[in-house]
């Protein structure tokens, strides 16, 4: 009974497998494969889009500031490189316009420097606390608090600096007490809030690299009679140094690019000054400033925006590239 059934089955089935075997080498339409190809295409399209965006931004910056298509003239065809990089006056809206980027670079440097003085050490100390000292329960509180700090909109920071930090803290301390003249908008207020802004970034990036330092190194340290502080400062931080350095660079490029808070708290006249109590103009806040007013299309003023943007872009991209390079080198050490 069963034998005959089997025979019947094999007898019936025998031509079919052969046909399948013959056709299996040939491509046939398959929904599964089509869907896979569609998914691959969509994913590739998404990544292509970001590349195209980047390239077109670079194209616009370059064509407006360096080399234009003939009927147009680019910024640097109207203003020489030497004026742009050596003149100490930035007066683009003046009748007798000056286009020297030094005051803007100086203002950016001042904001970045002040924010670095506040944000980098604070961020690093928080990272050491989170990675080496904090118990799981206190980590559970500190990390969300940092994320909230990171989530505050920058315009709120700017407002905070202008309305609270500057009149209620900076002015009483530096003007009333120490006798300096303090501007209502000053670089110090902006620098401090930008410093606060980069703390979460420094802390979480540095914490990541410090936690990736293998525990065996810590144990060896303890076994040699180290205290927790010795292990943190003499083993973990040095071992994670390149990663921490990369975190610093990323945070600084954020400081350089920070716009809204600085525009509100610090930006005014483009003074070439390193006095933190003076008002300054940064590259970013200049762009906001001009965009907020009326710009004649095709004017040198409009083109100067692109030139400034190109400088800004070059600086931040350079810093990001350096930090990525440092990070990738660091990863090799423990793998």
């Amino acid at each position: 009974m069963s034998e005959s059934q089997q025979e019947q089955l094999t007898g019936n089935a025998s031509p079919k497998p052969r046909a399948q075997a013959a056709s299996s080498l040939r491509r046939r339409f398959s929904w599964v494969r089509a869907r896979e190809q569609l998914i691959q295409g969509v994913l590739f399209g998404c990544s292509l889009l970001s590349i195209v965006t980047t390239l077109s931004i670079i194209y616009v910056l370059v064509s407006e500031s360096l080399i234009a298509i003939p009927p147009h003239t680019a910024f640097f065809q109207e203003i020489s490189f030497s004026e742009f990089f050596t003149s100490t006056k930035w007066l683009p809206q003046h009748d007798e316009a000056h286009y020297g980027i030094l005051p803007l670079l100086c203002g950016t440097l001042l904001i970045t420097g002040i924010s670095a003085l506040i944000g980098l050490p604070m961020g690093l100390l928080i990272a050491i606390y989170l990675s080496e000292y904090a118990s799981p329960s206190s980590r559970k509180w500190v990390k969300p608090a940092l994320e909230i700090l990171a989530g505050v909109p920058t315009v709120v920071y700017g407002y905070f600096a202008l309305r609270i930090l500057s009149p209620l803290i900076i002015s009483p301390v530096f003007h009333d007490w120490l006798g300096f003249s303090v501007m209502g908008k000053n670089a110090l207020a902006g620098g401090i809030v930008v410093g606060l802004m980069i703390i979460p970034m420094v802390a979480s990036l540095s914490e990541d690299v410090m936690r990736s330092v293998p525990n065996s190194l810590r144990e060896s340290g303890y076994a040699l009679g180290s205290t927790k502080f010795d292990v943190s400062t003499k083993i973990v931080v040095p071992a994670a140094l390149s990663g921490i350095f990369a975190a610093f660079l990323l945070a600084l490029s954020r400081s350089i690019g920070e716009t809204m808070a600085v525009s509100i708290a610090s930006a005014g006249l483009a003074n070439l000054t390193l006095n933190p109590l003076d008002q300054i103009q940064t590259m970013t806040s200049f762009i906001v400033d001009v965009m907020g007013g009326e710009v004649v299309s095709g004017s040198t003023l409009e083109k100067s925006l692109y030139a400034v943007a190109l400088v800004l872009f070059t600086i931040t991209m350079g810093m990001n590239l350096i930090s990525q390079w440092v990070l990738s080198r660091y990863r090799e050490v423990y793998q």
């Binding site: 065996s216 144990e219 060896s220 340290g221 040699l224 009679g225 180290s226 205290t227 083993i235 071992a239």
Partner: protein, 293 residues
């Protein structure tokens, strides 16, 4: 099938016994055998644990361990994975304190002093009881800075003194000739065996009295293992050494006493020769002959 298995086991036993007799009969080792006999009656043990139990949270990892470790000798801790021998080793310099939720009951005495007493300074305890880990862990610093790490955190800053210590420790760890010309280079560039000897040298730099070794040669090739074993042999003249090992032959070659751990209990401790040739407990015999574990 069963007979074959028995035969195989008997062969292992015979091979082990043969290896052991060779070991005992070699002149250097028989000398130390006598030395052990001489050290056993000598007063206070260097380390002693009395009804010591260990807990990870609520899970008990060690049960009532009573063990004496003699000064200037090598004690091997053997046993199957997860038997608690590493936990025991790490509790001798309170390394387990780093892990949260661990607890020790009973007494762990170093020269008669309870190291878990509340007034004990863990940092100075660890300077007296050094440790070498399974994985070599050179710090990403120069060879010199690796060795000088311990003395430096102890407050030593004089360059000449540090140089003396570095040279002494590297010589003691039998690696001086290989690295003396490149003390300023990164320790990460050394080979695995060299790194482990560097770690031993680093542990010696704090002038410990006891050296705990957690499978120090398990990740090394036979040649490097032999060098580490020679080194342990040298070091026991001046240090008390406790070593965890999975390698029976290694335990037989280098230790005077062997303790067999199983399931968090100390099953048997005795002179290495006795443990390997004539164990009292059946569990020990089964483990040593490879019938289990």
């Amino acid at each position: 099938m069963k007979i074959q298995g028995d035969l195989k086991q008997r062969k292992t036993v015979m091979a082990l016994e043969k290896r052991f007799t060779q070991f005992v009969e070699s002149p250097t080792v028989s000398g130390t055998g006598e030395a052990t006999d001489a050290t056993v009656p000598r007063g206070l043990p260097k380390i002693e644990t009395r009804t010591m139990s260990f807990f990870y949270g609520t899970k008990q990892a060690l049960h009532d361990i009573n063990l004496q470790i003699q000064d200037r000798s090598v004690t091997a801790l053997i046993g199957p994975s997860g038997c608690g021998k590493s936990t025991y080793l790490r509790s001798l310099n309170r390394m387990n304190d780093i892990i949260e939720g661990t607890r020790v009951t009973g007494e762990v005495l170093l020269d008669g002093e309870d190291i878990y007493a509340s007034e004990v300074d863990v940092v100075s305890l660890r300077k007296r009881v050094g440790m070498v880990f399974q994985k070599s862990t050179p710090f990403p610093k120069s060879i010199f800075d690796n060795i000088a790490f311990g003395p430096r955190i102890a407050g030593l800053t004089k360059k000449t003194e540090l140089q003396h210590i570095v040279e002494r420790c590297l010589k003691q760890a039998a690696i001086w000739n290989e690295v003396k010309d490149r003390l300023k280079e990164s320790a990460m560039a050394l080979s695995g065996g060299q790194q482990q000897r560097l770690c031993i040298a680093r542990a010696l730099a704090t002038n410990p009295e006891v050296l705990l070794m957690d499978e120090p040669a398990s990740a090394l090739d036979p040649a490097s293992t032999a060098r580490i074993e020679d080194l342990i042999f040298e070091l026991k003249q001046n240090y008390t050494i406790v070593i965890v090992t999975h390698n029976m032959q290694q335990a037989a070659r280098i230790s005077e006493k062997t303790a067999f751990f199983c399931m968090g209990r100390l099953v048997e401790i005795g002179r290495t020769k006795q443990i390997f040739t004539n164990p009292i407990q059946k569990e020990t015999e089964d483990y040593i002959t490879g019938r289990f574990g």
